[in-house]
Amino acid sequence: MINVEHLYKSFGDLEVLKDVSEHIEKGEKVVVIGPSGSGKSTFLRCLNLLETPTDGIITFEGVDITHCKGKDLDKLRQKMGMVFQHFNLFPHLSIRRNITLAPVKLKLMSQEEADKQAEILLRRVGLLDKADAYPNQLSGGQKQRIAIARALAMNPEVMLFDEPTSALDPEMVGEVLEIMKQLAEDGMTMVVVTHEMGFAREVASRVLFMADGQILEQNPPKEFFNNPQNPRLKEFLSKVI
């Protein structure tokens, strides 16, 4: 579904991604772990071109999207839902409008249709009673669940999660991961950058370890956690588990 070939990304003199190649199949749940500054988030943000790759080719469903611009880029992003570390809900809009804004303004749905869909999504994330609240009235965990619902409102084919639980109080991490697990069970293609090893173990079909802008090791979770090969990964796992 997504194919990345020889991806490079630099910010000025700083080389963040160095020759990353990766193939993500439809229905896969790929979890990316690694120390901070390793390029995980940049890799994820390159997938929907929030960062422009310095070099390399990214294809989505067989189409080269690396130099996608304008309308094509907007269309592409509609198919890729993104969930951010800091939620990025729109504080001036009610929860309902947060979820319905994009489908309605892009003329994919009428306001009534979008409202109906929002209701279904809100029920799915267990926050139907918050439809008319504003983001500032919610807890962090609730905000992130709404952010997931908002991304799902575009009926994306793949969901990108950029450290979705890193900004949450510990007791709120569970509720967000629970929603993500449900989503995985429903067959959504997911790419998740996270520090939640439990989630990686339980949900991932494949775990990638990134360090210094490269993917150093990747395996199904059992193999990945029980029998790590790369010394950097061994060191990393010994610190976090």
Partner: protein
């Protein structure tokens, strides 16, 4: 003649006799017309300039960036420098006597242009500060949902930016209203000019000038009240 009688006579002389109150009413109408039209022009110019400037700062790196954006940014910078670097009154006089010097132009239109262009430069920087105050994550969230740049600006960034700068914008509106009082220099009969005309006819400065001052004061107080109401309305989603 007692004190009150004197006041009543003064009042009669300045406002009732020869229907002099009509100067005030007409002048007030002109002042309001110029202010409202100049405000509209200023807002349009200001928003456009602010968006060009902030987009440029966001998108263009040292070597990259679109040609049109770079060109637009230079134009905007020149506009801001010239307008903010010269007195409003000089700008008004130049527009009337130099730019439209050889054509017969409506004085009201001339004032609207001068004050609108002037105010636009200040509004641009106010709105730009508002746009810059919005976290980039808001922008990314909009784009990641598939909204294009324009829609992200209109539906996500601008509403939040305008709310943040509303007090500063209100300040600018008040300044604009009062600044139109120099319209008399191109012989436009605005409110200030009206008061001065009456003074010239009656040789009694107190009543007409105080009346003019009071009218400005009342309008500004009303405007402040309106802005406060608007702020309160927009603050509804801040409640926790």
């Amino acid at each position: 003649m007692n004190f009150f009688q004197k006041i009543a006579d003064e009042f009669h002389l300045n406002f009732i006799a020869e229907d002099r109150w009509k100067y005030i009413v007409d002048g007030l109408g002109t002042t309001m017309l110029v202010t409202i039209l100049a405000l509209t022009l200023g807002l349009v110019l200001g928003v456009v300039t602010a968006i060009v400037r902030s987009t440029h700062d966001k998108v263009c790196t040292e070597k990259g960036g679109h040609f049109f954006l770079r060109f637009g940014n230079v134009i905007c910078k020149i506009y801001l420098t010239i307008i903010r670097g010269t007195p409003t009154m000089v700008q008004l006089l130049i527009i009337y006597f130099v730019i439209f010097g050889s054509v017969a132009i409506n004085k009201t239109l001339c004032a609207v242009l001068a004050f609108g262009i002037n105010s636009g430069a200040y509004i641009a920087e106010i709105i730009r500060s508002g746009i810059m105050s919005i976290d980039n994550g808001q922008f990314e969230a909009g784009r990641s949902l598939g909204l294009n740049f324009r829609r992200t600006m209109i539906y996500i960034i601008m509403p939040q930016a305008l709310k943040n700068v509303l007090p500063a914008l209100g300040n600018e509106f008040i300044t604009l209203l009062k600044e139109t009082s120099i319209s008399g220099y191109i012989a436009l009969q605005d409110l200030t000019r009206a008061g001065d005309l009456i003074r010239g006819q009656t040789y009694s400065p107190f009543m007409p000038l105080i009346a003019v001052a009071l009218i400005y004061l009342v309008i500004v107080m009303g405007l402040s009240k309106l802005i406060t109401l608007l702020e309160r309305r927009l603050a509804r989603n801040d409640k926790r």
